[in-house]
Symmetry: C2
């Protein structure tokens, strides 16, 4: 957590979180130290301690930053979309965009949370569950509209999220395929996997 409230300090804290998220993702949380992070940021370890209390609190800040991005760019706008199918399409495309676009704070939400302490973990699991339930309820709406195929709702929700979250494991944003194209394809596959044929 930033130790003073100025905007400059907050921006520096954000830069630290995003760099640390990338290092945690690449090397694994356990395999890297605050020294590695200070080095990547070209600051001293004492300088880093001005912004973070410990490696664990840094991880907690990063996960929350990622969850904030999902709230702001996926969940909140989706709440304003009345039609369930259109809402699901929005959720898939925009969550995929965050994962494929290389936002490591978003990617880390589904990794490493075992490294948090009990209270931090409970808070993160609560936020993840809220998101899961929102997606699940959207799928239930589609079922009520008789648009859904005959699959179990829980399996459908997790498998849908698996397609999206797996992007961070294989897609490289600097390769020849654009983020837009890969998200469109994942969105197309995910909707086809869930929805009945329209005819």
């Amino acid at each position: 957590m930033a130790k003073n409230g100025t905007q400059k300090s907050q921006e520096k804290a954000q830069e630290i979180y995003l760099t640390a998220a990338q290092i945690f993702f690449t090397k694994g949380y356990n395999a890297c130290s605050l020294n590695d992070i200070a080095e990547a940021l070209n600051i001293t370890k004492a300088g880093l301690y001005y912004y973070v209390e410990s490696k664990q609190s840094l991880l907690f800040e990063i996960v929350n930053l990622g969850l904030d991005s999902v709230d702001r760019e996926v969940l909140e706008p989706a709440r304003n979309i009345g039609d369930a199918e259109e809402r699901l399409r929005f959720i898939i495309f925009n969550h995929a965009r965050l994962c494929a676009g290389g936002n490591h704070a978003v990617i880390i939400i589904s990794h490493e949370i075992n490294e948090l302490n009990f209270y931090q973990r409970e808070e993160v699991l609560k936020r993840r569950r809220d998101y899961f339930d929102f997606v699940r309820n959207t799928i239930i709406e589609l079922q009520n509209e008789e648009k859904l195929t005959e699959v179990d709702i829980t399996t459908a929700t997790f498998t849908l999220l698996g397609m999206i979250l797996w992007l961070s494991r294989w897609y490289r944003p600097n390769g020849k395929m654009s983020v837009k194209k890969v998200c469109e394809d994942v969105c197309e596959m995910a909707l086809r996997s869930l929805l009945r044929e329209k005819n």
Copy 2:
């Protein structure tokens, strides 16, 4: 690696690998020691060293055991299936069955391989690539038969594997849903996500 060739010793080695795989999966490779594994097996650390050279060599044995299972139960039987759609259905269902059934040696194939040394990692990546290419080639066959939707082949292959591999993250084999039912649903979703409507 087992240090003698008797069957009893090989069976004990397998038991060690599967227990260790479960512990690595649950706690994370970095967070657990050979002591934890010896304790779970109720043997001494010296007893464990009779079967394994080091934590890293143990991980390598486990990953290879998992890859052997995929070869034996998915890849090899699938090679004998002429029809591409039927072959893909077999691959999805049986790979899903290994992941959902709680075979931690199979699950660990897609985790932790950064912890292997260079030569071990290259060998594992080669085996994973061979599997990926086999699935990808099956999808290309479906494209040639004009059965595939308009999605990028690489995206299709990775996203399909994501649906299957994600099972190990959420599905618990002792819950109320059977392994068979969850694998059927994932299979149904995966095929729908890829194949054109039949009419």
